[in-house]
């Protein structure tokens, strides 16, 4: 029992130590999942904000991967001690939106701080993704990216392909990929990260195709999946055929395929625009192109949808804290901050002004390709098919899709079977998650 007393004593001492420090300034905790260079950006931004004024102090806390951060936030909410701000990844958006009593809409907070909140300053494609059906912005977009095409110029040259002219449509990609393989320029023609995000979710929005009913889940949670229509089936059958010939190489469910591309094994690669950093640092002679589209689709190319994460604000905090959060979000929206974030991190700017500013500075002339993901996102006003996909259990549905894709790529089933199974199992999972 002595041991217990000791532990309790130690605990009490630590509690005393930790609570006695904060008085005049309101501390605002920000739980995030940023690693590597992006983590340094988080620390730097917090420091600058804290130095810019004396009333509030942002305390950034790394809480692990995106799922780990979300779980930590949920555990803390249930223990009634949530942080003020939490970073949630794109696929967690549905979960957060369903928890209406737990979160406070960002639109509300931004107008609370005394200022006005003008949604039109923000990039429409991004804002639409993080808003309620009625247009209320729920979370603050922090890091957004979009899938683009990368290609290895050395391999292109060896295969006799036009180094300055990357393929624009999927049939062109397949043709170039086959040529890379047959010419022996590389052992594989094409690979891709995130098949679910790039070849289903963005394939749908970029080609203006329906992924699911109710505007892909943005208008209502009770959705039915629709991604087994003929055009999807055709696309995936083409990938399966390429895989059989060894022209397409599967790298894994998330970003693993980046390593294959970096190793110079594949000539063409689709991946998030945020993945640029590693490719630049590897010293590869690379080029960038728009995400390919499907020429048979009527509206293509339409617009791509963002991936990444946004900042959510928990409910039940004091007005003082919300004012601090509002100040911080306004700080983050500043043109120079956004422009810098965009140029340093490879993520998309959240405000139009930051985009204009970056353009004016000549950044895109020096870094061609960095504008590509923005142009993809802004080209056209989003249709009901292209605002993104939102499901209450998107992570689970993606798991199901990945499982079916893997069976298809292993030659155990056709694309038709894979997509039919994924739709059927996905629908069942959605119904279960909704409690029906």
């Amino acid at each position: 029992m002595k041991f217990q007393g000791l532990a309790a004593g130690a605990a009490a001492a630590f509690t005393l130590l930790s609570t006695s420090s904060a008085f005049a300034v309101t501390e605002i905790s920000w739980w995030h999942a940023m690693t590597g260079a992006n983590n340094e950006v988080v620390e730097q931004l917090s420091k600058e904000f804290n130095e810019s004024q004396g009333d509030y102090k942002i305390v950034p806390v790394f809480k692990g991967t995106y799922p780990e951060t979300l779980n930590a936030g949920i555990a803390a909410f249930r223990a009634k001690q949530p942080p003020a701000i939490m970073q949630v990844f794109d696929v967690g958006t549905g979960v957060m939106m369903a928890a209406e009593g737990a979160v406070k809409p960002v639109a509300e907070i931004l107008s609370m701080g005394g200022g006005t909140f003008d949604k039109s300053q923000y990039l429409p494609g991004i804002v639409a993704y993080y808003s309620k059906p009625d247009g209320t912005m729920l979370s603050f977009p922090y890091n957004s990216s979009s899938p683009i095409l990368y290609y290895n110029k050395d391999i292109f040259e060896k295969a006799g392909l036009d180094v300055n002219n990357p393929p624009k449509t999927w049939p062109e990609v397949w043709e170039a990929a086959r040529k890379i393989k047959t010419s022996g320029a590389a052992s594989c023609g094409y690979t891709s990260t995130w098949l679910t995000w790039i070849h289903l979710e963005n394939f749908a929005s970029w080609n203006d195709l329906q992924y699911a009913t109710h505007e892909n889940g943005l208008a209502d949670t009770n959705v039915e999946l629709k991604f087994n229509s003929p055009i999807f089936v055709k696309h995936f059958q083409e990938i399966a055929d390429l895989a059989k010939d060894g022209v397409f190489r599967y790298g894994g469910r998330t970003s693993e395929a980046k390593q294959i591309f970096l190793a110079g094994e594949c000539g063409i690669f689709t991946e998030s625009s945020g993945g640029l950093g590693d490719i630049v640092k590897s010293g590869m002679n690379y080029g960038i192109g728009q995400l390919p589209y499907e020429p048979d689709a009527k509206g293509a190319p339409q617009n791509t949808t963002p991936g990444g994460a946004s900042l959510w604000v928990f409910g039940g905090k004091s007005d003082e804290e919300y004012k601090g959060v509002a100040e911080f979000f306004k700080f983050l929206s500043k043109t120079d901050i956004q422009a810098r974030l965009h140029q340093v991190s490879g993520y998309l700017p959240v405000t139009l002004a930051a985009y204009e500013e970056t353009k004016k500075s000549g950044f895109y002339d020096k870094n061609p390709g960095r504008e590509t993901p923005i142009l993809q996102m802004m080209g056209k006003a989003p249709t009901e098919n292209s605002k993104g996909v939102r499901l209450v259990n998107l992570p689970q549905v993606r798991d199901i899709q990945n499982e079916e894709f893997e069976k298809m790529l292993a030659g155990e089933q056709t694309a038709q079977q894979a997509l039919d199974n994924a739709v059927q199992r996905g629908n069942a999972a959605i119904q279960q998650a909704l409690g029906n």
């Binding site: 509690t15 340094e40 692990g64 780990e68 223990a79």
Partner: protein, 282 residues
């Protein structure tokens, strides 16, 4: 010692070397990676021999890299991790050896129920009961404390089970003799049981220290302040597989730094093993 033929000894050496190649290769490979430039690491496959960036990489990591990303100095991170690992190892050994002692050498009502109550804790990892355990932490005010970092991880049965298994092998005559000599339970424990358990305690200490040292999910949850973080959390903070460039060469250096203290513990504990061996040579 039984005479061994040189051939058999030779075979033993070969098997051991093969075993070590398999078991230790990943560490060697981490070390290799820590001596190459970022560019080399980013363009796989990685060479099998060390590169020429040893001093450069280690210098950068020690005097900037880790601290910059971890938010606090390497020293603080290592201190927190050491406190956590030591706390778990010592705490768990103490409570386990006591309870195993009671269960093996005493007969009392509810004895086996207690054993099973403790034993079942083998069966449910922290991840599964994370929400409720976290709530207990908050209710007790243990967030951001060393107690919060260590106590919940002591609630496990491995050590108790090991001591029970070991105590059962102690001949009854030994206990008998102690009692004839007039030794009470405490003297028996102190003069006979503890010295006999030396090798096992050393083995357990190594295992538990490393267990505590490598914890990730739990310290991540119960600390909200950077200066309470551990080296593994800082390391994880440096690694990004998606969407950001990672300074892999510095990550590799930090990985090596993070495994040096446990290696020192192993080396130190070796002496206990050897001592136990010499003293019990029968």
């Amino acid at each position: 010692m039984i005479g061994q033929s040189p051939i058999r000894i030779g075979i033993a050496h070969i098997v051991l070397i093969l075993g070590i190649v398999v078991v230790a290769f990943p560490i060697y490979y981490t070390f290799v990676a820590s001596t190459h430039s970022l560019q080399t690491i980013l363009r796989p496959p990685l060479p099998l021999v060390p590169g020429d960036r040893f001093f450069e990489n280690y210098w950068t990591a020690l005097f900037g890299g880790v601290g910059r990303i971890g938010g606090v100095s390497v020293g603080t991170l290592l201190l927190n991790t050491t406190v956590m690992a030591l706390g778990i190892a010592v705490g768990k050994i103490v409570i386990s050896i006591l309870s195993a002692y009671a269960i093996v050498f005493f007969r009392f009502p509810l004895r086996m129920m207690f054993f099973w109550l403790i034993f079942i804790t083998l069966m449910l990892p922290v991840e599964v009961r994370i929400l409720p355990t976290y709530k207990v932490m908050v209710d007790f005010g243990l967030i951001d404390t060393y107690a919060g970092l260590t106590l919940p991880l002591m609630a496990s049965a491995t050590a108790t089970l090991l001591f029970r298994q070991f105590f059962l092998t102690i001949p009854g005559e030994l206990v008998e003799a102690a009692r004839v000599d007039g030794a009470g339970p405490w003297r028996f424990f102190k003069d006979i049981l503890l010295p006999l358990s030396k090798t096992n305690i050393a083995a357990l200490f190594v295992i538990l220290f490393i267990y505590g040292w490598t914890q990730y999910l739990w310290p991540l949850l119960v600390t909200n302040r950077n200066d309470m973080g551990t080296i593994v959390i800082a390391l994880k903070k440096m690694i990004s597989f998606a969407d950001a460039d990672t300074e892999w060469h510095l990550v590799m250096v930090t990985s090596i730094l993070a495994i040096v203290p446990p290696i020192l513990v192993v080396l130190f504990m070796q002496r206990w093993f050897v001592k136990g061996l010499v003293e019990t040579e029968k």
